[in-house]
Symmetry: C2
Subunit: 338 residues, 2 copies
Amino acid sequence: MADKVTIATVAAHANVSRQTVSNVLNTPHLVREETRERVREAIAVLGYRANQAARLMRTGRSHLLAVRIEPTRDGINGSVLDRFLHGLTEAAAPAGYRILLYAAADDQAEIATYDDLLATYELDGFVLTSTHHGDVRTSWLAERGVPFVTFGRPWGRLGADARTEPAALSGAAGSHPWVDVDNAAGTAAATRHLLDAGHRRIGFIGWPEGSGVGDERRAGWAATAGADLPELARATVDGVAEGEAAAHDLLSISDPPTALVCASDSLAAGAYGVAPPGVAVTGFDDTAVARVLGLTSVAQPLAEAAARCVDLLAGVLDGGAAPHPVLLPPSLVIRQSA
Amino acid sequence: MADKVTIATVAAHANVSRQTVSNVLNTPHLVREETRERVREAIAVLGYRANQAARLMRTGRSHLLAVRIEPTRDGINGSVLDRFLHGLTEAAAPAGYRILLYAAADDQAEIATYDDLLATYELDGFVLTSTHHGDVRTSWLAERGVPFVTFGRPWGRLGADARTEPAALSGAAGSHPWVDVDNAAGTAAATRHLLDAGHRRIGFIGWPEGSGVGDERRAGWAATAGADLPELARATVDGVAEGEAAAHDLLSISDPPTALVCASDSLAAGAYGVAPPGVAVTGFDDTAVARVLGLTSVAQPLAEAAARCVDLLAGVLDGGAAPHPVLLPPSLVIRQSA
């Protein structure tokens, strides 16, 4: 039965043109929702099955977007990218795309996978996460003309000034479509909240210099706390035990801080565990751990970031003008820890 | 250049037959690893691009497996399915498959999505998660002959005896390939651990009757604690606050329990927060929250479960005999809470 139902049958049933049915199948985001629903209903009722092979031949578009699924690590900060993935899947479907997953151990393995994916599945484009200084993935894709968008801004080479500046935000030559969350604004909001509560010596626990995101989070604290005193800042690899150790260290200096801004919920969970009563602690990413421990934490608008990534990439695929980058503000979720 | 490289060019370069190149592209898991690597290297060096459209026409196989990404909910128990998804993505690639994601609000929406996915992407099969009593998804797929595997056993209709029995495990008529973790063995191990530590009144906090997984977790406790005394068990919807309330209630009865086995880390996190010193608490799923709080918890072998799902489904797709279901043992991770 499915073989005898054609686009013409569907068009007649839905009382639209064959071109409209074709549009619903191939560029649904260009079709009005009401029409799209009517055509989809006809497709469902009639049991029409578009032939992906024929469709690919005809349109050269697979409507597949690929995204890397990252290792789970400690399950605290990694959960951010899982939430991003949920948002991406939910935003892609109404825009007419589906998400294909791949795993890769590092940037080089990821590039090898691009090659495989492009050869095998004729992907329309990629959504890259975890951009960093000297990222070789974006130049590989750009050189080959493969459409992509990044969640995370282009950080440039290490040492270059990759801070958010009007030039970078305007999508200057050499850049690519990206969506990011304003990390510095997040730690600045946490620091301001602590200042408002009367704290005057506010410490910072972050990551070693050189990670774009980590440096931004430190910059937001430094610019707001009044002075970026090295004695009030500690850098460590991420982790609960590491946060504990750094907090111990900071709280044992003479004239210790009365509040600690942390670059992640992992570090904050560790710091909060050893902070004496009255010492405030804030985290970053508003994870389940923050909710359970009662940690005040900076929340990233992950569903919105994912939806904007789909928007930008769909725009590129439809041949639109180079889209402007999107920088989203985070928000502070206040709980008992600060 | 890519247009002029053909399967014959790749075959000559790798010193294999054209059929072998075709096998590497279409059924890589049937090719010896060393040969597969050599062919893939030739493909990379020559810049050969298989044409997915042509391949689909030729083989009728897309090498895409679809899986639903579930809502994040409280980010505690939901993280289990995210970890399963990581495992699935990692296991699929070496077997020659990729994972396509979809979201769906409920079973009916999920079935509508099957239709769309089958029509548009010519999927090879589905991996279903969160099976439950009266699951309409599996019968929909089975009736249409769509290959699938479930993570979670078939629970049958509510009220039917769907416990793990030799008949169910042998893959009897009407069943389908499935992989599950032995939930009852998990709570039994937690309860035994508490008995060994000298506890004699062990309570249970779980979910309302009717969820296959929840009923199994209660059964494991009841069979091991000695007596399934209703006065020692509480049922509530999942959540930290709900765990707190249930623990309060259980600990205020006359002759209260000295230990609490919980059906989830969310419930355990709540219970542990209000339990007085000396009252032991165990959770389920070994989430990041359990690690941060120091909760003893039952861990599911999620990466292995995902890999076995890929194995079973690949076997079905290759036309093998109906595979035997797989029931995996969980393990108890002991921390300070019990």
